[in-house]
């Protein structure tokens, strides 16, 4: 059984075909990199997988279960988590509250209007643990507004990881990071256990190529090349549309 199976996925906005007949099969534990020039439909593909967009046709399966028509929020409960290319966090709150919201999202007590959230020890502990994991434990109670861009990227990852996803979708986790920060996030991603399947969009080829086992190249919404690292890098079409000469 595959972690993620996509068959014949199509999506167009008016006359613009953003996703054309995409097939994708990601095995459990795999590290998959999706590359492609700007406008290739990479983030749209993520939005289709997470359910933020509805496909025009085709199907999506998560761990063998058809989720094509499952609402986005249910997919989180089925074991799918994502990070955003444009950082999407709760800017008025502290770092730990951001992570707590991620934990709460999968807990039945998210409907509870009577208990005091600040006194729910297990949320606080687990959120703290997730922040230690990404190296932010020491500033857990800092307001998000007072954090650096690199720290926010790590909060994004902590929020996704704390939901214990089976499939993790990372949308440009290295975007906008300095070389040092990039190395930290890279270490962090390498430490994610193998029972988590990772699909990543990334432009930073040095870190991304090292991380990925299989690579899919998208161009104008179509899968052009797919294979392992060496195959895709050596493929003349990759050089033509993406890597350049």
């Amino acid at each position: 059984m595959s972690a993620l199976t996509i068959k014949g996925l199509c999506k167009s906005f008016g006359g613009l075909h953003v996703t054309t007949n995409v097939d994708l099969n990601v095995e459990p534990g795999e590290r998959r990199l999706i590359i492609g020039p700007n406008g290739a439909g990479k983030t749209t593909l993520f939005n289709l997988i997470t359910g933020e967009l509805t496909p025009d046709s085709g199907s999506i399966e998560l761990l063998g279960q058809d989720i094509t028509h499952v609402p986005s929020r249910r997919r989180a409960h089925l074991g799918m988590a994502r990070t955003y290319q444009i950082i999407t966090l709760f800017a008025r709150d502290t770092i730990i509250h951001n992570v707590t919201l991620a934990l709460l999202g999968l807990s039945p007590s998210r409907w509870n209007p009577l208990i005091d959230l600040r006194r729910q020890g297990h949320f606080v502990e687990n959120a703290q643990k997730a922040l230690e994991q990404v190296g932010l434990g020491h500033i857990a109670n800092r307001p998000l507004a007072q954090t650096s861009y690199g720290e926010r990227r790590r909060v994004e990852i902590a929020m996704a990881l704390t939901q214990n996803p089976k499939v993790l979708l990372l949308d440009e986790p290295f975007a906008g990071l300095s070389i040092d920060e990039r190395r930290d996030v890279h270490q962090l991603l390498l430490a994610i256990p193998r029972d988590v399947t990772i699909v990543m969009i990334e432009h930073n080829m040095d870190v991304a190529l090292e991380f990925a086992e299989r690579i899919t190249l998208l161009h104008f919404g179509e899968v052009i090349v797919e294979g392992n690292r060496a195959e895709v890098v050596a493929d003349p079409r990759t050089r033509e549309v993406y890597l350049g000469h």
């Binding site: 929020r73 989180a76 999407t88 709760f90 919201l101 999202g105 007590s109 509870n112 005091d116 959230l117």
Partner: protein
């Protein structure tokens, strides 16, 4: 922190003993008005402040409750039944309101609530067999909970105070609960909340019902206070007035709407006795608030206070530093 509890204690004592030190029935009635308008503003604040959904139709809901109470009493039912039916009718009306207006957010939400409020206002005017049209409905008596008659101003004040504290307690618990945190999350990042597994629509719907409940509670106090309800109560200006209470006091804070209600009611009832153009004054105050503290009176004052405090501390440091440098 202890300073905050101290201030809260003083406020509670002051409110509980108000009829003893406030002379004149008139001012006690003004205090009652502030309290039930504060409950109304707290209710609207659930949507405006915590859900990020601005409603311009809450006066319509307020009116539904008031008319339902008046109509049930006119049919000859007792106060408990009238109040219960009014609450149920209001929640039902709010559910319809929410189902229609939650199809959008932002400007769309404002416009739909505005339209619904106007429809209810029109109904109150035209459905004469039910509402009495322009003449409105009069209530003959106030209720007598546990044998205490509320016909006297002091007794009514205390009843309002109890309801006010219960409402404030309820909203305080809600805001600090997981559901309250989720609601604030849907205000700031609805897309992310959805991806994290939250049912954004359902959370907003529940917030609407809670807001509607507080609105209904305040409307019942209002209708028993004035013992009269007419279409004017449902007008757009009433909706705007409550919204101004919330925004001027500080949307998304617990105390803001209370201070906002105090400000509006005092200018409208007390100051209007001295200044004929009190609307002009109210407008000027709002402009001043928007310019000086756009976040509202309560958070704005806290900010200015902290600023002044820091300045003083810095000045003290400079003085002591200068003294050290001298020898």
């Amino acid at each position: 922190m202890s300073g905050r509890y101290f201030a809260l204690g003083i406020a509670i004592v002051a409110l509980a003993t108000l009829p003893n030190w406030m002379t004149g029935v008139y001012y006690i009635n003004v205090a009652s008005q502030i309290l039930f308008y504060a409950v109304f503003a707290l209710g609207l604040n659930v949507l405006v402040g915590y859900a990020g959904l601005v409603s311009l139709g809450h006066a319509g809901l307020f009116g539904v409750t008031a008319y339902a109470t008046g109509y049930m009493l006119q049919l000859g039912y007792g106060h408990p039944i009238a109040i219960l039916v009014a609450l149920i009718v209001s929640l039902f009306a709010m559910a319809i309101y929410a189902a229609l207006s939650l199809r959008s957010t932002g400007i769309g939400f404002i416009m739909i609530t505005l339209a619904l409020g106007e429809i209810l206002w029109g109904l109150a005017y035209r459905w004469i067999s039910l509402t009495g049209g322009d003449n409105g409905l009069s209530l003959q008596t106030r209720p007598e909970p546990f044998g205490y008659s509320l016909s006297d101003a002091n007794a009514f004040y205390y009843a309002t105070l109890v309801v006010f504290f219960l409402s404030l307690g309820a909203i305080t618990i809600f805001v600090h609960s997981p559901l309250g945190a989720a609601l604030k999350g849907t205000r700031d990042q609805p897309r992310r909340m959805n991806a994290l597994g939250y049912h954004v629509w359902a959370i907003r719907f529940i917030a609407c019902l809670f807001s509607g409940l507080l609105t209904a509670v305040s409307a019942i106090l209002f209708v028993y206070y004035t013992q009269f309800i007419s279409p004017q109560t449902l007008a757009l200006t009433s909706s705007a007035e409550v919204l101004l209470m919330v925004i001027s006091g500080g949307a998304g804070t617990l105390l803001g709407p209370i201070f906002g209600a105090g400000l509006v009611v005092v200018v409208k009832t007390v100051v209007s006795g001295f200044i004929e153009r009190w609307n002009f004054l109210l407008g000027a105050i709002f402009v001043a608030i928007v310019i000086l503290m756009p976040e509202g009176l309560v958070p704005g004052s806290v900010r200015l206070w902290r600023l002044a405090w820091r300045k003083r501390e810095r000045a003290a440091k400079v003085v002591s530093g200068g003294a050290e440098a001298k020898p």
